[in-house]
């Protein structure tokens, strides 16, 4: 558009410019109001997730401890054993590293890193490091003399892989795979296949929890939407009560109710349904996890359902009946389809919350009730294999994003209604 065609205001300034100027202040003020939240989100959400994504593929424990060797071994062609020169660099680097006391840069840290990929190799490094100062040329021969495991090419291949700072190794581990002697990716031994199975179990348990929530929440939400205001409010308070009690208190209450010496078992024994020896194990296993989590997540199903049902006037059902539809048919064809947005919102919400739930399975899950988040927590807090924890966390995030994408594809995110 040429300048001649520009619409001008009375005082000769282009209209667009003038409009931008008058709205700029407003926009800036609005932006300023959101600033605290934006900062909070960046600091507490965007940055940590970025950090997690990064550490799931990044680990410099080898290159930080034996930097010269790391550079050299990466150049190695992987045939047979590395050259005498590489052996020399390794022995010297190891000797130098032995003196370092800085946390995160000790031989121990490096040994742990390599031990992830080659279980049982940790002591090889720590013991050799103690003797490294005394090893002299020919390095290859003498090193193998110190420990004949150094003659195994696999340890050098493993070190070559670990020397790279950016590595897919933790995803390989998180997906129950491993590198074989030749460096090819294969399935891990059955004994070590824990993560995929746990992922599948987590998805299964979450699906079951979601299903139970739907079955329990649907009638309650319906009742809430049709009851007179007074009763509906009372019911709503009861629905929201779990929200107002501490998570720990709620979970502890479940322990008191469900444990073998707990209320339910006592009553069953008292009434003679089960013998004193036959008390049912309802907690510290998967059952306990499911019961407690359904209780906690139920409001997240009821509220979106309720908010949708509230907007469906009763005349729809009446219209369907007046046209000759039997109540059940009318319900299925007219009422149910209209509650789908709420059902979908509740399902998505409960399922996503469930697959990431941590505290409840940790408290009442026992051995078989542990979910993927508990394994992630284990790697972050106990085993200190942060990279593996991060890789597992990233996979969990990916699952959630895929679900979200699927939801958007099937139902449309704009149809989501929470309240």
């Amino acid at each position: 558009m040429s300048t001649a065609e520009l619409t001008l205001t009375e005082d000769g300034i282009p209209l667009k410019e003038k409009l931008a100027k008058t709205t700029a202040l407003q926009r800036r003020r609005a932006l300023l109001l959101t600033l605290p939240l934006v900062i909070f989100l960046v600091v507490s959400f965007v940055f940590p997730i970025g950090q997690m994504l990064f550490s799931s593929v990044h680990n410099d424990k080898v290159s930080a401890v034996v930097p010269t060797f790391a550079e050299a071994i990466i150049q190695w062609d992987g045939e047979g054993l590395p050259s005498e020169q590489i052996f020399e660099i390794f022995v010297k680097d190891l000797a130098a590293a032995k003196k370092v006391r800085e946390i995160g840069r000790t031989v121990g840290n490096m040994a742990t890193r390599i031990n992830y990929e080659m279980p049982g190799s940790r002591s090889l490094f720590t013991s050799t490091a103690r003797k490294a100062k005394k090893i002299e040329a020919p390095y290859k021969e003498n090193l193998i003399k110190v420990n004949k495991k150094w003659a195994n090419p696999t340890i050098w291949l493993t070190m070559q892989r670990a020397a790279r700072d950016i590595t897919p190794a933790f995803y390989v581990a998180a997906l129950d795979l491993k590198y074989d002697e030749n460096g090819d990716i294969v399935r891990a031994d059955e004994l070590y296949q824990i993560y995929l199975n746990n992922f599948i179990k987590t998805l299964g348990v979450s699906a079951l929890i979601t299903l139970i929530c739907v079955v329990l929440a649907y009638p309650v939400a319906y009742l809430l939407s049709v009851l007179p205001l007074r009763q509906a409010n009372l019911l709503m308070i009861m629905v929201l009560l779990p929200f107002w009690t501490s998570l720990l208190v709620r979970t502890t209450a479940w322990i008191a109710i469900l444990q073998t010496e707990g209320v339910i078992n006592d009553m069953l024994v008292f009434m003679g349904f089960i013998s004193d020896d036959g008390r049912i194990q309802m907690i510290y296993n998967q059952t306990g996890t499911i019961i407690a989590m359904v209780h906690i997540l139920l409001p997240f199903m009821i509220l979106p359902l309720y908010s949708v049902m509230k907007t469906i006037p009763p005349t729809y059902m009446r219209a369907a009946l007046s046209m000759g539809a039997k109540p059940l048919y009318a319900y299925r064809k007219v009422y149910l389809p209209q509650t789908l947005p709420g059902l979908a919102a509740g399902t998505l919400l409960v399922f996503i919350l469930a697959i990431g739930y941590y505290i409840t399975p940790a408290l009442v899950g026992g051995e078989d009730g542990l979910l993927i988040s508990n394994l992630i927590a284990y790697h972050i807090q106990k085993s200190l294999n942060w990279s593996l924890g991060a890789a597992l966390g990233t996979l969990l995030l990916a699952v959630v994003l895929i679900l979200y994408w699927l939801y958007n594809k099937l139902i449309g995110i704009d149809k989501l209604r929470f309240g």
Partner: protein, 362 residues
């Protein structure tokens, strides 16, 4: 069905929601086949409750409703075969227009090809043949209304109920739809029970109107009869505009009564529902039945009145007079050369005939 037995009969129907108050007190009504009967009344008068009882959504507390001579109190709504148009249309938002119309046919197990023909026919009937694939939300209010009407007719019900179906439309559209529904009624020979609180709508469309107030039918008659010969003060007041003059009956002479208005003026009126000399009465006068400067001897009541206000309405001039102690006496003066001389604060004679002035209950 014999010619005499009505399609619908309400017999001594009473209805209470809380066990304390009767919202419908004693409702009796016969609707003949092909009739267009309107239940008219202010909100809370029980008219919608009666409709819901007929549709089967509310049980009658006492009495019996008959459809084609059979009692239907215990018949569930989906077995009554009554078409219904709701106030907010109640079109299913998750179905297309065609699917909405197809629904009552599907329920009846009608074959797909037959369904398609009938849906097409019903849509054409309301001039929406092209809109079958749309969602109700994509239609205007008037179009949604038409779809709702078509849906209530598509399964050829014996009876169609309409619960204030035009309430949500603007004035022009409402009038247009009134004629369309009326024409459908005439063309298809439908039997319609219609509920509204709009008296103009009731007058335009109905064969008969049942005027409700306080759970009781005040009068049930054809539109003209309701307007010309209201049986009581409520009906006179509710249907059309009227001027009311309060007074006491002084003398009854056959059809004529002499009434002393509260202002002391003596008015001769037509006796409707007053019994005794000395009773209080409401005199009802339609604004278009009052003459300004009547010729000597042409009317029976002549009073001198002061012009308070003139409101120009184009075809007529709405004139507010002060007469017989009332300063809100409205007269519709035709916009003709004869009356162009009316001026505010002037005093003129106005008068009316005995038969136009009805002496009703107070």
């Amino acid at each position: 069905m014999s010619a005499e037995s009505p399609l619908v009969r309400f017999e001594n129907i009473q209805k209470s929601y809380d066990g304390e108050i009767l919202v419908v007190k004693d409702f009796n009504l016969d609707v003949a086949k092909g009739e267009f009967v309107t239940m008219l009344g202010p909100s809370g008068s029980g008219k919608t409750t009666c409709l819901m009882m007929l549709a089967g959504f509310e049980p009658a507390t006492n009495g019996e409703i008959y459809l084609k001579g059979k009692p239907i109190n215990k018949v569930p709504p989906y077995k009554r075969g009554i078409g219904m148009v709701f106030q907010n249309y109640a079109l299913f938002p998750h179905m297309t227009v065609a699917e909405n119309l197809s629904f009552p046919l599907e329920v009846r197990g009608i074959s797909r090809s037959e369904r398609e023909t009938r849906v097409k026919r019903a849509l054409d009937m309301v001039q929406l043949g092209e809109f079958g694939g749309r969602r109700p939300m994509q239609l205007s209010g008037g179009q949604q209304q038409r779809v709702a009407v078509a849906r209530s007719l598509v399964f050829d019900p014996d009876l169609v109920l309409m619960d204030e179906p035009l309430g949500a439309l603007d004035k022009n559209l409402r009038e247009q739809m009134q004629y369309e529904i009326k024409h459908l009624h005439e063309q298809l020979g439908l039997t319609v029970v219609y509920v509204t609180h709009d008296q103009t709508e009731a007058l335009t469309m109905s064969n008969r109107i049942a005027v409700f107030d306080d759970g009781i039918v005040q009068q049930c008659a054809a539109p003209a009869a309701l307007y010309e010969n209201p049986e009581n003060a409520f009906v006179a007041n509710f249907i059309g505009e009227n001027n009311r003059i309060m007074g006491t009956v002084k003398n009854i002479d056959g059809e004529h009564v002499s009434v002393t208005a509260d202002s002391g003026d003596n008015i001769v009126a037509h006796k409707v529902n007053i019994e005794n000399v000395g009773d209080r009465t409401t005199l009802s006068l339609r604004p278009e039945r009052v003459f300004v400067s009547p010729e000597e001897g042409s009317v029976d009541n002549v009073f001198s009145a002061k012009v308070e206000e003139l409101i120009y309405h184009g075809d007529h001039i709405r004139t507010r007079f002060k007469v017989c102690g009332h300063d809100d006496f409205i007269v519709k003066v035709p916009n003709s050369a004869k009356h162009s001389a009316l001026q505010e604060n002037n005093t003129v004679n106005i008068g009316w005939k005995v038969e136009d002035c009805l002496a009703l209950d107070a």
